[in-house]
């Protein structure tokens, strides 16, 4: 085991630990503002994970989109709804919560079992996931150029159609958001009784 790997794993564990704590904080913090703060932390940790995974462009995008954009949206949401009775709206102590936690635990165990046993089996025998360390050459190339240009090329060549569709989606989302959140008619009209005089 080389030193490089130990440092790498140290960083990984540190970030992952903070990430999980922050994610748990999002869900279980008693106040919504704390949740928001831990969400920002979580997003930044995710960006760190991306950096560890050689994805610098994605990491930067993560910081910009999640760490700033979505966070602002959330803050807006919190402020616009301005709930005073925040404490009351913490967790739902219901049967479904138990079910959810149980199921989530089960799922986690399942995935754990799968990745520790199944995937190695699969990868060795069927070669479904040819898991390998990236070659040194590629890493060096990436270290030299970064992923930005590669992603940019990919987006505008191979993935140009999804890219354009995505732009449409974003446009639709913007317009939709305005329409939905914009001031509607004050009184809703019941279509079944519209235009009828009461008998």
């Amino acid at each position: 085991m080389e030193m490089q790997d130990i440092i790498y794993s140290f960083f990984f564990y540190a970030i992952a630990f903070v990430l999980i704590i922050a994610a748990l904080g999002v869900v279980f913090m008693p106040r919504i503002v704390y949740s928001a703060v831990s969400m920002v932390v979580a997003f930044l940790c995710v960006a760190g994970i991306f950096v560890l995974l050689n994805a610098d462009f994605v990491a930067v995008s993560q910081v910009i989109i999640y760490g700033v954009g979505i966070t602002i949206v959330m803050i807006f949401a919190i402020m616009l709804t301005a709930t005073r009775e925040d404490k009351k709206l913490w967790l739902a102590f219901k049967f479904r919560s138990l079910v959810a936690i149980g199921s989530a635990g089960l799922l986690f165990l399942l995935i754990l079992a799968a990745v520790t046993k199944g995937f190695t089996m699969l990868s060795s025998e069927a070669g479904l996931f040819a898991v390998q360390k990236p070659s040194q050459e590629v890493i060096q190339r990436l270290a030299a150029e970064g992923t930005t240009s590669a992603i940019g090329k990919a987006l505008l060549t191979n993935y140009v159609l999804p890219f354009e569709i995505l732009s449409l989606l974003l446009l639709a989302a913007i317009i939709g958001a305005i329409v939905i959140a914009g001031k509607g008619k004050d009184k809703l009209i019941n279509p079944t009784t519209a235009g009828e005089k009461p008998d």
Binding site: L53, A77, V115
Partner: protein, 113 residues
């Protein structure tokens, strides 16, 4: 398996670690989605979920085809969708809030059969 081997496996960070991490995040997101009573927190949980997925994509991209970066491109797409989702989510939240001044998920039961 001896302790050493386990330690070596733990410190030799591979795809498995990332998948486990994303699984943990995913489970937390799901739990948050179901357990939280505040709509905003539910929205946040969704973001956590999406992040978990993103980690998965990027990890696979890193360990299977770093040359091609498909996973990273996909992660970009997902981010864009997440941004759209967040915007729409906020809009719906506000529209809901206008009809019923509450962010309590227990209060929204209009679809009750």
């Amino acid at each position: 398996m001896s302790w050493e081997e386990i330690l070596i496996k733990l410190f030799n960070v591979e795809l498995t670690h990332y998948i486990v991490l994303s699984a943990v995040l995913f489970c937390i997101g799901i739990v948050g989605l179901i357990v939280c009573r505040n709509v905003i927190r539910v929205l946040m949980s969704i973001e956590i979920l999406l992040s978990a997925v993103n980690i998965n994509f990027v990890a696979f991209a890193n360990y299977t085809d770093l040359g091609d970066l498909k996973g990273q491109v996909f992660a970009i797409f997902i981010m864009a969708v997440a941004a759209a989702e967040a915007a729409i989510g906020l809009a719906i939240l506000l529209a809901l809030y206008r009809n019923k001044p509450s962010v309590d998920t227990e209060e929204f039961k209009e679809l009750r059969g």
